[in-house]
Symmetry: C2
Subunit: 180 residues, 2 copies
DNA sequence: CACAATCATGTAATTATTTACATGTTTTTA
DNA sequence: TAAAAACATGTAAATAATTACATGATTGTG
């Protein structure tokens, strides 16, 4: 999916919260934000370079120990403007939820097909794991429901949990219909 | 997202059901399968050519009227084998659900932010529309719950509806929390 | 202290995907 | 019957994304 520039805006958003390194940005996709977008370091580093060239961000070198260098990127006013423009632009079309399991399922026409049950149970395990992990994240990051700092972050985590819960429920129902 | 070959397998699966043209394959992504993967004709036609070269499919020319030619592709035994291999290979990792709206939401830290409510209501409308459309599809394609031909197709449509329902519910709850 | 894991940053090659360019036919509708 | 919509198939150029190649430093652990 060559989605127009989305990664650039995610990076702007993350850098806007606080100055970060390419390594930290890469890590961000292991966490909650990774539920809704993915990127590898090999995509991130060249993009940071381009964004700095376009004067959306700047960096400052940091050194740990003798030699280990790190570039900590900060957002510029131009970068903040572009981030704001993106945020203000309404989202009028929905992305496809790419899901390889669902596609395989589509091609299984026979309710009696022996592949169905193992596929569904494997998938249920995966989504239960994911749901549990997200619930742990919620407990860890938002222990006090009365004091939520990053409201958007809270909302998307809540949404991810709800989505996984729904996915698990559908799988569970399907399995029980099948085994009935 | 350069997802390994998924489109190839989707095409094999669709051609396996019945011989189809590139145009029909393109159209398939406007319908239910498009909830879980997307492709344009500019990706499909060259891929069909490559797949025929790899002897996974063959085509037969059809003519309508005087000149309008159409290539109707059929699957070969090699193609069927590759499709079966793909179907039997367990899906062990989940795709990210790319969602640009959710990403924007992530960066809105303040519960009082004026952009929040319009974003949420716009998004609710989109997902309600999608849910309604999918429900219409369900009624049209599977009018008789007792006689379901393509069980996998039925399941993924059910899942898509459930997903949209959950999305709408979450948005509705969020909006009502916000306006309370 | 040796080894493993993690930190840290890049580039190259390949593949996937989108957007734009390009052309012509047939069917439907006003 | 003229125009619009849908049918039908392709290629080219650009962008996005993955996988592999490449290197080295620091920290934690046994």
């Amino acid at each position: 999916m060559a989605q127009r520039n989305t990664l650039k805006y995610i990076i702007l958003g993350l850098i806007n919260e606080r100055p970060v390194t390419g390594y930290e940005l890469t890590k961000a996709f292991d966490s909650d934000i990774g539920e809704f977008w993915l990127a590898q370091h090999s995509q991130i580093y060249p993009l940071l370079k381009r964004m700095e060239h376009d004067q959306l961000i700047t960096h400052q070198l940091e050194v740990t120990g003798e030699k280990l260098e790190r570039k900590r990127y900060a957002i510029t006013p131009d970068g903040q403007q572009e981030l704001a423009d993106w945020l203000n632009e309404p989202v009028t079309k929905l992305n496809a939820n790419k899901d390889e399991f669902i596609l395989k399922l589509y091609f299984i026409r026979d309710r009696q097909d022996g592949r169905l049950l193992p596929m569904l149970t494997t998938q249920l395990q995966l989504h239960q794991q994911k749901r549990n992990h997200l619930q742990d994240q919620m407990a860890q990051k938002f222990p006090d429901a009365a004091h939520i700092e990053a409201y958007g972050h809270f909302l998307i985590l809540q949404h991810a949990i709800s989505r996984e819960q729904d996915y698990c429920q559908w799988l569970t129902n399907t399995i029980s219909n099948l085994t009935a």
